[in-house]
């Protein structure tokens, strides 16, 4: 995963959006990329944040895994826990 991306409620990113070391927690300003990922903004970013966000969103959508179809068990495969 891109080292600028953090997981909401999970692993933090490794650098700010401009590539600098992270500030102390809690990160002062963060930007949600999607409902799972975020980036840490610099006080004065030295990159075009909008362009980076677009790039990261495209990257994340490209690696989206299609939802797994639920497995439907045949009637004779169903086990009875009460036995």
């Amino acid at each position: 995963m891109d080292n600028r991306l953090g997981v909401i409620g999970g692993h933090p990113p490794q650098v700010t959006v401009s590539g600098y070391p992270l500030p102390a927690k809690p990160y002062p300003t963060t930007l949600t990329i999607d409902n799972t990922h975020y980036i840490v903004l610099d006080e004065r970013p030295t990159v075009d944040v909008d362009a980076v966000v677009l790039e990261l969103r495209e990257m994340l959508s490209a690696v989206d895994v299609p939802p797994v179809e639920p497995v439907v068990m045949e009637a004779d495969e169903v086990t009875d826990d009460t036995e």
């Binding site: 909401i8 409620g9 809690p26 300003t29 963060t30 930007l31 409902n35 975020y38 006080e43 944040v49």
Partner: protein, 292 residues
């Protein structure tokens, strides 16, 4: 649990938190420009860890005296004629705080190995700030401890002197003293509008300070949402997971109470039903300042 009217001993100087205030009256953390915030941005205040003391401002009042027949017949207060200035003292030279109140940025990139701070002597536009100073409150009626959170709703902080040098030793030999210039704000720290007809019944619907008593110290997080957003993360683990918006944690959207789906006390994630672009969320929560 609802608190009832009480009295007690207010002591200590535990926490100082500062956040910029935008022109709509909301706290907006440490963003560079309070008026230009991208949708999807989550903002945290800056927690100053070296608070020594806060001296409140002294307001002055205009009074009138009715004197006749060689006696004072009556006196009355006409109103405030000055809000005064307060001060705060820190034990540390705090580069984040010094740059935050000056509108400057700590420069660590021009010269690798240098961290440079300018005095910005010609600065005219000082950030408007929310300031929370927290002290302990020992209740004389139920005998337990609470916290008093003193909130400036719209203030500026400046540093009239530079850092001193001396040969002194001992405890806090070189403290830094700052001036607090209070002004009136229209919103409380929770995003709700101050009102003359409800809540605290604030005359004129604007005020300089609000004091909030709570079981644990308060912190706050702001989130300017994008329409697809369903989460934001608090700066510290909240003590309570109450999600109603009106108990234990204050949660608002666009200044009105907003019940969320959940408040996670482990991950500090607040989950809510998606809304519209630029919805402005504020969560004021009780915490022991454990960062996630």
């Amino acid at each position: 649990m609802a608190l009832s009217t009480s009295r007690g001993m207010a002591v200590g100087a535990y926490h100082l938190q500062v956040a910029k205030r935008n022109s709509s009256g909301y706290p907006v953390g440490q963003v560079a420009d309070p008026e230009t915030i991208s949708n999807g941005t989550t903002m945290q205040p800056y927690l100053v860890r070296s608070l020594v003391s806060i001296t409140p401002e002294e307001r002055t009042y205009t009074t009138a005296t009715n004197r006749g027949g060689m006696t004072v017949i009556s006196q009355t207060t006409l109103g405030v004629d000055s809000l005064g200035t307060g001060s705060l003292v820190l034990s540390e030279y705090d580069e984040t705080f010094l740059n935050f109140i000056r509108g400057t940025t700590l420069d660590t990139s021009t010269v690798d190995g240098f961290a440079m701070t300018a005095s910005n002597i010609d600065q005219r536009n000082f950030p408007r700030l929310f300031i929370i100073g927290t002290q302990k409150f020992t209740d004389s009626i139920d005998g337990s401890d609470y916290y008093l959170n003193h909130v400036y709703t719209n203030a500026q902080i400046f540093h009239p002197s530079w850092v001193g040098l001396s040969q002194e030793g001992g405890v806090n030999p070189n403290p830094l003293t700052f001036t607090i210039l209070p002004s009136k704000g229209t919103k409380n720290i929770d995003g709700r509008t101050l009102s003359a007809s409800s809540g605290m019944y604030v005359v004129g619907a604007s005020d300089t300070r609000v004091t909030i008593r709570s079981r644990y110290p308060l912190s706050f997080t702001s989130h300017k949402a994008a329409s697809a957003n369903t989460t934001y993360t608090l700066g510290y683990r909240p003590v309570y997971n109450t999600a109603t918006g009106t108990a234990d944690n204050s949660i608002t959207k666009n200044g009105s109470t907003f019940a969320v789906s959940s408040v996670n006390t482990s991950t500090a994630v607040v989950t809510f039903t998606s809304g519209s672009d630029a919805d402005f969320h504020v969560c004021v929560y009780q915490t022991e300042f454990v960062a996630v």
